[in-house]
Amino acid sequence: MRHLMSPLDFTTEELDRLFDLANDIEKHPAKYAHACDGKILATCFYEPSTRTRLSFESAMTRLGGRVIGFSDAASSSAAKGESVSDTIRIISCYADICAMRHFKEGAPMVAAEKSGIPVINAGDGGHQHPTQTLTDLLTIRTMKGRLSGFTVGLCGDLKFGRTVHSLINALVRYDDIHFIFISPEELRVPDYITDMLKTRGIPYEEVIRLEDVMPRLDLLYMTRVQKERFFNEEDYVRLKDFYILDRYKMTLAREDMLVLHPLPRVNEISVEVDSDPRAAYFKQAQYGVYVRMALILTLLEITV
């Protein structure tokens, strides 16, 4: 029995098989409509996350399975003080697979150790969010046809953004990747990431202005720069426009560049960019369902 705790749990070959399956699901949805008949997914969400939870529920429902669960800790047995270990033992009796989001880092791993069913980490604090990374990779592979040979710009809050850290860790396993980190000084990528890149000999640059590097990017991964991350208001006002993607900045980009964003978007991408064919962030949400469908089938060892 396998679980998914980190995007690195799967080898690149296993990821290729997962993405092939997701692409097949996209092309032939009817073929998979009853693949999970009689199966139950438990969504154990100790903190609210509407999009991720609905994406899992949509995935299981599209496979013909059913969904049970809770959407915040207050409505779960955790409010009565039950441990994660005990909860998963009970859930294992009710469901065939579990997607768990928890505010404490490592909680899904504790669940996996005690579980009788596969557990998917649906986000644990600031630690991991592997299905977001799988979504990002599937989007890139499907729209670009490959996962190697890119100049990847990551823009915004690179210090606290777990989706950014996970994506970097996932992309370094592919050949010929060049990173350009675009962020204010305060929100640069942590040292452990740049140390890892140096050790592996993977080229990277750190810049402050998005405009300056736009023409060189194959992929642009946007994240939000939150006001509260800055030390003072003055810096925030001075820098915030550097990290807002608008129509003008898009004119500097290549015709085949892709813009990705883990969503929710607030104001870091102007709505005028949404109609640009290079804007891939809403398609990403669709791929998020396909990749979760493929993941559920893979972990339940169901072949169609």
Binding site: S85, H102, G106, A107, H127
Partner: protein, 144 residues
């Protein structure tokens, strides 16, 4: 100067920071074993001023000393056979350690889950970096 007799076979842990010998005694779980142990506190040391020493009369390799590589990396471990020092033992960093050091990340599940062991995994042998198995927070001296 206090005199403690020689041991025939076992280990002498020397150059322990003064006052730390009881902690090592506990980490090595010597209370659970039936071996003669001498704990010498605050012995004079040219190098350290004061130091602690632990003498353990035991069968060689009957105690796993590798945990010392993490909690007391600067001590000297002398292997004794027939009353003589036969080796200064090199300690190897264990791949995984359980309930020796604690995770101090307040966001980690170990901070709330009852009876969950604190498990650290060797993430970088060269830099001697251990990370919590659950949250991957790096263990550092200051969190000891």
């Amino acid at each position: 100067m206090l005199n403690v007799g020689k041991i025939e076979e076992g280990y002498v842990l020397d150059h322990i920071k003064a006052g730390k010998s009881f902690a090592l005694y506990e980490h090595l779980q010597l209370a659970k074993l039936d071996y003669p142990v001498a704990i010498i506190k605050n012995a004079k040391s040219n190098k350290m001023g004061k130091k602690d020493i632990l003498k353990i009369e035991c069968d060689l390799d009957s105690i796993d000393l590798d945990v010392l590589a993490i909690i007391a990396p600067n001590i000297t471990v002398n292997t004794i056979k027939d009353g003589e020092i036969v080796e200064k033992k090199e300690l190897t960093l264990p791949r995984q350690i359980r309930n020796v050091i604690r995770c101090h990340n307040p966001r980690c599940i170990t901070s709330i889950e009852q009876e969950l062991p604190h498990v650290f995994v060797l993430a970088d042998e060269e830099k001697k970096i251990y990370r919590c198995k659950y949250c991957e927070e790096k263990y550092s001296e200051s969190s000891r």
